[in-house]
Symmetry: D2
Subunit: 147 residues, 4 copies
Amino acid sequence: MTTEMRKFTRVDFTYHHSIPTRWNDNDMLGHLNNVVYYRLFETIVVKFLAEEIKLDWKSAIENVQAVESLCRFHKALSYPDLIDAALRVAKIGNSSVVFELALFGPEDVMASATGHVVEVFVDTASGKSTSMGDHRREIFEKFTLPS
Amino acid sequence: MTTEMRKFTRVDFTYHHSIPTRWNDNDMLGHLNNVVYYRLFETIVVKFLAEEIKLDWKSAIENVQAVESLCRFHKALSYPDLIDAALRVAKIGNSSVVFELALFGPEDVMASATGHVVEVFVDTASGKSTSMGDHRREIFEKFTLPS
Amino acid sequence: MTTEMRKFTRVDFTYHHSIPTRWNDNDMLGHLNNVVYYRLFETIVVKFLAEEIKLDWKSAIENVQAVESLCRFHKALSYPDLIDAALRVAKIGNSSVVFELALFGPEDVMASATGHVVEVFVDTASGKSTSMGDHRREIFEKFTLPS
Amino acid sequence: MTTEMRKFTRVDFTYHHSIPTRWNDNDMLGHLNNVVYYRLFETIVVKFLAEEIKLDWKSAIENVQAVESLCRFHKALSYPDLIDAALRVAKIGNSSVVFELALFGPEDVMASATGHVVEVFVDTASGKSTSMGDHRREIFEKFTLPS
C-alpha cells in the first residue's frame, strides 16, 4: 500500500512529531540503524494514540497491538538529524487502523523512509479484537487525507 | 509475499539460528517489543551473510543495504524464550536478494512472527546497486526451498 | 570497591552466564557500545535473581531495584564475541546485595570489563526497602568467594 | 566522588541538554530502564564533546574512550518525561577528563540520578592515551564549577 509513497512530501501527512536522534541510533555503518526506523515509527504512533485517541497504556480493559509493520528505506538518515516523523490515517476498520508513516531528515523534500503500521484494538480479557467505537473512529477520520 | 507464511512450520525454512532473548527485550506490556522482532531479523540476516556469503562488513568496496523490511506479529513472544529464527531465500535478483523470515518460540509449531527483508548489494564508491556475482547467487540458491 | 578487579580471572567469580552479542551491540566505533556493557550486567543479574533467588518480577508485593551501578572498561569487546559474564556476591545487607561483575571475551584471561550493581529489595506498597529474609541471605552467601 | 551529589540542584551544573524520552525507554516495571540512564549520559557527553570540544568522531588520528562510568538511581524517571541532563567538568588530567552528570525530571528540584563518566583521549594508531592539549583544557575549565 505504500508503493508510491516516496514521492509524497510533508504536506501529504496530517500529523507530525519531531524526534531528536541519539548518537547510538547510528550503527557501525555510520547511519541510522534500520531497526531504529521502527523505533521512530513507534514513537510517533504511541504519541498519536496517547494525545489524540487518549489511549491509556495501563488500561486493564483493552489495549492496542501492532499486527504488521513495514518500512522502505529510500535514503540514509543519520545522527544528529532531527527527524520529522509524519503520520496519516490510511484505513479505518471496525477494530483496526492503518497508519501510513514517513521520516524526513532536515533537508528532505521527499521522505527518506516510508511505511505503515497496522494496529488492532484488543479486549484484554479475551485477547480478541474489539470494536474501536464511533468516537475513536471520528478522531481517526480527522487525520485521513482529504480525497 | 508473506501472506500465507504463518501456516508454515520450521521445516519450511532452510537456515536457523537460535537467539536468546534479553530481559529488556520485553516492553511495558510484558512481551517482546515489536521493534525487537526486527532486531532478531537483523541478527539472523547478518549471521547468514557473514557465515554463508562471507560478507565483510568493513569492506571499503561494497556493502549490503536493506531497502525494505516487513513483520507480521501472529502471537506474542516473551523473555526468557529462546527464539528459533528461521530464514529462506525467496527471490534472487541481479543485485538484490529477498529473505523470508520467521520467529518461533520454544513451543511453537507455527511461526509467531513472519516477515521479509530485501537486501541490495551496493558499490560503496558510487552508492549504486551492484551485481552480486555468480558465486553468491549459487550460495543463495542453496537456501531456497525446493519447488 | 572494584579497584583491583581487573587482575581477577574467571575463577574469581562464582556464577557465570554465556551471552551472545548482537551485531548492533557494536557502535560506530566498531566495538561494543559502553552502554551495552550495562545491558550485559543486567542480563546476568536478572538471570541470577530469577534462577537462584526465584525472584518473581511480576510480584505485586516486592521488587528489586538497582540503586547504583558502575563499570570499568579495560579492553574493548566486540560482536561476534560470545561473552562470559561473571558474578559474585560481594556484600549482603539486610535489604541490599552487592554483585561484583566481570565480562570476559573468548580469549580473555583477565576481565575486559569489571563493575558492580547494588540491588535493594523494596516493598511495593510502601516503596521502602524491606528485609530480604534469611532464606535469600543463605542463597546469596553461597555465591560469595571463600575468604 | 559523587557521594553527596543528590542534594545538588540544576544550578550546580554548567551544561544542560534536554532529552525527550521514548516510550520503550521504560521497561517492564513501568519506569526508565536503568541502562537507559547511561544512554542519556552518553547523549549529553557526546553532544558536549561535539559542540564544545569540536570532537570529530570520525577522526583517524585520535578518539575519546570511556574508561569508567557510574550511576546512582535516586528516584524513578519515566516516559514521557522530558529529561534535563546536566553536566559539569569535575577533574581535568593530562589526557583524561571526568564529567559529573545528573538527570532531572520535569518537576525535580534535586537530581533523580547522578553519576560520572571518565573519558580519555587516545591516539588511534598506538591505542595509548594522548595529551588533550591546552586548547581543550581551557574549554573544559570553563565548564567546571567556580570554587
